[in-house]
Amino acid sequence: MISTTSGTIVIENEVESVKTKLKLAEIDASMRFPVIFFITSALVWLGIGTTFALIASISLHASHFFPNWEWLTFGRVRSAHLNAMAFGWGNNIVFAVAMWMMVRLCQTKLRFPWLMITAGIFWNIALIVGIAGILLGQLTSVEWLEMPRYVSPILGLSYTMIAIWGIVSFLYRENSHVYVSQWYILAALFWFPWIYIAVQTMVIWFPARGTVQSITNWWFGHNALGLWYTPIGVAAAYYLIPKVLGRPIYSYYLSALGFWTLALFYNWAGVHHLIGGPIPVWLISSGIVASVMMVIPVVVTAINHHLTVVGFFDHVWHSPTLRFVVFGAMSYTLASFLGSAMALREVNVVSHFTHATVAHAHHGIYAFFTMVMFGSIYYIMPRMLKREWPSALLISLHFWFVAVGITLYVLGLTIGGWIQGLEMNNSQIAFIETVKHTIPWLISRSVAGSLMAIGHICFFIHFLWMFMSKKTAGGPTLFKRAGEEVAVK
């Protein structure tokens, strides 16, 4: 046994470490029901959103495939898809992952979990009503806010309950250091209600006159991505990458710089949805500048992550959590660079109004955010259920189907959209001809979406299986290493 003084410190550190881990186990236990509730809700909405997605995508190149029901018309199905994915899948999984990270990092147990679950139930009920409303024709035709206005107070109330618990947990924190993920989560919790209430007021409840509505709409729409989903995605990456690898993040200063530049610039980028549109040019130019300046936080985060992971990429590959999370983090970098490029006028004159915009949106919300969330679920669930994932094969299938799917999606629609834009700007080509040329690319999107749907089905099956399996800890489920023997259970 150890006998020197430095050895005593080693033992003390070890004891501290064990105490912390026991504490984390307790915290996980306190979070059990809310986290499982929100993850399950999120996955249900993911399934619903995927169904709407396939219907919408197929409607654009094979509309005769579906009966001519009014509630299935493209404008409505597409809006139902967006809202189910954003507020159903997106928000539920954010609540699960952000709350779990927050209480863990604050090292404080979740108080009154039943309150969070109640808020979550109301949230989901409001969503069901809202999305049914969309399909029945009560959509607002305001992008990102299609749900009829009578559900927004309930959504607002549920959200407030959850957000307050996040902040309360932070105020009750039991450690002094505030880790970077906590900044992002706190910020997101505060930013979202501000932008949501502002846009509901100025566009839906007391509409402003003229294109002030559009400016407010897109200030909100882009900020939903930049100040809500992105911070949680980045926070999760910042938590899981060092956690799973057991290595520290490269630089605190890079983290801080990344956080504040994101907060500053992302806020102003939303106007790039209106380039060339009927608003004063200074707003457009500011939006373009902010979109390009986003390169700063993105590069900073990428460097920070990269220098944390460098030399350990094979560990990344073999950990299900990290495979998804790092795929996501790299997609964040790529999608953001493409986004900054698309904001430049010379590029935007081609890409605006085309399917390339849709590709970019899915690049960010799926290849980045959703993949990071998948990785988070793979990490969190074993700790909630005190069981391991039953099958590395299903994780592998899940990964490959969605990774190939989203890559095909983004490539197909970016190329198709770019061609569409070039042709649209050439008045020698009849408009209907430009439309016909997009059809193969739209079909490729349906193929890609089907691959993603299969990946989701693998995930759902695996998720259910885990509930029913009895496999307790025998070590975490990892992908097989090449050339190694498979252990017999």
């Binding site: 470490s17 912390t20 881990k21 993920s181 990458i241 060092p242 057991g246 040019v281 130019s285 099958s391």
Partner: protein
């Protein structure tokens, strides 16, 4: 389906204080203790941050970006005014360019593409059974007055063109300027193999004056009575 890897996770810092899981395959007798042990075994340290400095090159690059941003805003913001919509506008209200000389074929084609093409199609052949063709159509190519009258007041009812019957509505474009009506007809009479003479603005003006008391669209019978094919 058992490809579960039972190896230690890499860089596992958790210490067992002497207990190495892989060597001792037996599980503890107390399941609660086992559970706690499993939790400790698979949990790593909470994430930390080192305090490496920000690379200087990065700071330099960001400085460049900020400089670009300032320059771009100064140049392309139209003075931050609320009524400037174009980055190149000299500031203030968008200046209308001096009008180019009016070319009937060019302007006529524009009008055709914008308004007529949807029905009569880009090749002037119309839609069988629905919209009559203009290519080779005597309704367009013979009497100039008749063509002008149809455009100014519209026409509704059964007509026959090259053996096919059509029973539709031709909406009026009487609210167009005389010169635009003349231009579009001039263009059509020269397009798709048609080879008829141009129509003058004065003729349009005269015909408009002649028929100014008429309120409703023409029927084919009426107009053929005035201007037979």
């Amino acid at each position: 389906m058992s490809d579960i890897n039972k190896e230690d996770k890499p860089n596992n810092k958790s210490s067992h204080l002497g207990f190495d899981r892989n060597e001792d395959r037996g599980r503890m007798s107390d399941p609660k203790l086992q559970e706690i042990h499993d939790q400790l075994y698979r949990e790593k340290e909470e994430p930390q941050e080192k305090d490496s400095p920000i690379p200087l090159l990065l700071i330099f690059l960001f400085g460049l970006l900020i400089f670009w941003a300032g320059f771009y805003l100064a140049k392309y913001s139209g003075g931050f005014k609320g009524d400037v919509f174009n980055p190149e506008a000299p500031g203030g209200i968008a200046v209308a360019k001096p009008p180019a000389p009016f070319d009937p074929l060019v302007q006529g084609k524009k009008s055709y593409v914008r308004t007529c093409q949807a029905c009569h199609q880009a090749d002037g052949k119309g839609l069988p059974g629905v919209y009559p063709p203009l290519a080779g159509s005597p309704w367009l190519l013979s009497s100039e007055e008749r063509a002008i009258k149809i455009l100014i007041k519209g026409m509704s009812g059964k007509i026959e063109v090259e053996g096919e019957t059509f029973n539709g509505n031709m909406p009026p474009v009487g609210d167009w300027k005389d010169r635009d009506i003349a231009a579009v007809l001039t263009y059509e009479r020269q397009a798709w193999g048609n080879n008829a003479g141009p129509i003058s603005e004065d003729l349009v003006k005269k015909v408009r004056e002649d028929i100014k008391d008429r309120a409703k669209p023409w029927t084919p019978q009426e107009i053929l009575a005035q201007d037979p094919l």
